[in-house]
């Protein structure tokens, strides 16, 4: 008797995945019959660490949840604390926050476009798109001092101002991306070979996107017009008229396949450039922080009570942080949710009945960020079923080996 299905595990370490995650596939011939997702290999216990830190230390911890969304998590966390403690943010800071967040979106989407091309086997497109991405990394470094982990956010504002000298430099970046956008559109949306590999692949229907609570470009590519910047605007987004981008704006219809996810991300690069342009033209004057003295701010936060929710539309979708301020300096509850956490389930209908060769591009199509999703973990040496070596035992083994070699 021959078996009709076979189990194929992919991950946690696999050349087509940038981050550790296990997928257990059950396949019949070339078709995928069932999928079991097993994340958790990247747990770092970040929420747990937050229990022993004060609010201002947590901003920097939140920033390190993800290396790509390193403006999104502190943005949402600061908003949650500001809502909980009733702290207002000066208008100039609100505009600078949005400029940084949108620059981040440009770099994240172009990075993703390069990865998608790489998964399909077009490595020259990977190099070209990452070359285009360098410009936005440069401007982020000029504005914040860092290419990643910008350290810009603070409760009640931002830490660095955008000076007069910066403005012509940002305008140059805007011009650069207006030109580059046309190239991106040509390469990703007009190219027949990309279209052949991605159309009708990894389909997520409108109903599935709603039922599985998908967020960000993954949901919008299936026609769900959901975008925090549009639905519940905040900061400078409230002054603009932002529309959630769906693929029908470009192609006239919604299929919910990988190609539609490329459309949404490419169009969002253009939208981000327009948002930054608006922010520069309407940048208000004034302070950038509501309370400059950190010690005083900590005092205010220590006395404050209440709970708040902070939401931000990150490049991958909605980031939501919930903070409940308690007695003492640390929050009583801090819960961070990254977009991949919600988009995880979308993989199941996307991969059902797909071919094994489409696994990399379908997995890449939601722009997963496993590091964001797996946040919490523990180290457990005493009750582990498997034998775990302690540092002493390891050291002993190491010494023994050295002795053996010396004999």
């Amino acid at each position: 008797m021959s078996k009709s299905t076979y189990k194929v595990p992919i991950g946690p370490i696999h050349p087509s995945l940038e981050e550790p995650m296990t997928f257990n596939f059950e396949i019949s011939g070339e078709k995928i019959k069932s999928i079991d997702l097993a994340p958790g290999d990247n747990h770092r216990g970040i929420e747990f660490m937050g229990r022993n830190r004060n609010i201002i230390q947590i901003i920097y911890l939140a920033e390190r949840i993800c290396g790509i969304c390193s403006a999104s998590h502190p943005f949402a966390f600061c908003r949650a604390v500001e809502n909980a403690a009733g702290i207002s943010v000066p208008p100039r800071a609100e505009y600078i926050r949005v400029i940084i967040a949108e620059l981040e979106r440009i770099h994240s989407h172009i990075l993703w476009a390069g990865v998608a091309a790489h998964e399909l086997g077009f490595d020259s497109v990977l190099y070209l798109s990452w070359k285009v991405r360098e410009e936005v990394m440069d401007i982020l470094e000029i504005l914040t001092g860092n290419r990643v982990n910008y350290g810009m956010f603070m409760i009640g504002g931002v830490r660095r101002d955008v000076s007069k000298e910066h403005i012509p430099r940002i305008e140059k970046t805007i011009e650069y991306y207006k030109e580059a956008y046309q190239k991106l559109e040509d390469v990703f949306l007009q190219d027949p070979s990309i279209a052949i590999r991605t159309k009708n692949v990894g389909v997520l229907t409108y109903e599935e996107a709603l039922n599985l609570a998908s967020v960000g470009p993954t949901a919008r590519a299936s026609g769900v017009k959901k975008d925090v910047r549009q639905d519940q605007p905040y900061s400078a987004y409230a002054d603009m008229d932002i529309k959630a981008i769906t693929p029908d704006m470009f192609s006239g219809k919604v299929n919910g396949d990988v190609y539609d996810r490329i459309i949404v991300r490419v169009l969002e690069v253009k939208q981000s450039v327009e948002i930054i342009e608006y922010c520069l033209n309407h940048l208000p004057d004034g302070e950038i922080l509501s309370e400059k003295k950190i010690a005083k701010l900590l005092g205010i936060l220590k006395k404050a009570e209440g709970e708040g929710v902070g939401r931000h539309e990150a490049p991958r979708g909605e980031v939501i942080h919930y903070v409940k301020l308690g007695e003492g300096e640390s929050p009583e509850v801090w819960k961070a949710r990254a977009p991949t956490y919600n988009n995880l389930m979308s993989w199941v209908p996307m991969l059902q009945n797909q071919e094994v060769a489409d696994i990399p591009i379908v997995i890449a199509s939601i722009d997963p960020c496993i590091g964001c999703m797996d946040r919490a973990t523990l180290v457990d040496a005493n009750t582990y079923q498997k034998q775990v070596l302690t540092r002493e035992e390891l050291r002993k083994l190491s010494i023994e080996k050295t002795r053996r070699m010396m004999q």
Partner: protein, 168 residues
């Protein structure tokens, strides 16, 4: 429906099962336009009905369940939002349910909103909350061989303290 109408709609249907409620008004932008957070606390047995009522208005989006071990009870805060699609129309609905700490148990909502599965599984692992009706699946974030009676996000006994590797 605006937030006040939403709250009175829920109050009309759930009556005294709503233990506590408030509407937070936040302002955004130079024009200081308003958006709303509706906070509710409902009785454990009426939680499913509350979600069903929300679903009768528009399919609710669930963001996450934030758990809190207060020492006396396990409080779950479900972060929902409804009315997406138009500027300033979305309302965040945050529903708190307080569970008995000795045997925390609540019915699942994965049959109403399948997308709640990940967060229910996480809450089950981290806080030891039983979700009645949730299929028994493997651990999602904790290792498979993690002890079944230890819940790391509880704050004292059966929490992390006894598990943390000593520094020696």
């Amino acid at each position: 429906m605006n937030p006040k109408e939403l709250l009175s709609f829920l109050k009309k249907n759930l009556k005294e099962s709503i233990l506590d409620s408030r509407i937070d008004t936040n302002k955004a932008g130079i024009k200081q336009e308003e958006f709303f957070n509706v906070w509710l606390e409902v009785g454990q047995n009426k939680f499913r009905d509350t979600v069903k009522l929300l679903a009768s208005l528009q399919y609710p989006h669930i963001a996450i369940i934030a758990g809190n071990d207060t020492g006396e009870s396990i409080d779950l805060l479900y972060l929902f939002s409804i009315y997406y699609g138009e500027k300033f129309k979305e309302i965040s609905v945050n529903i708190k349910v307080s569970l008995d700490r000795k045997k925390p148990s609540i019915s699942t909502i994965t049959d109403l909103i399948p997308g709640a599965q990940t967060t229910e599984r996480e809450t089950k692992e981290m806080f030891g909350v039983e979700f009645v009706g949730l299929p028994d699946m493997h651990n999602i974030f904790l290792p498979e061989d993690f002890p079944k009676n230890v819940f790391p996000f509880r704050k004292n006994e059966k929490g992390l303290d006894e598990l943390v590797q000593n520094e020696s």
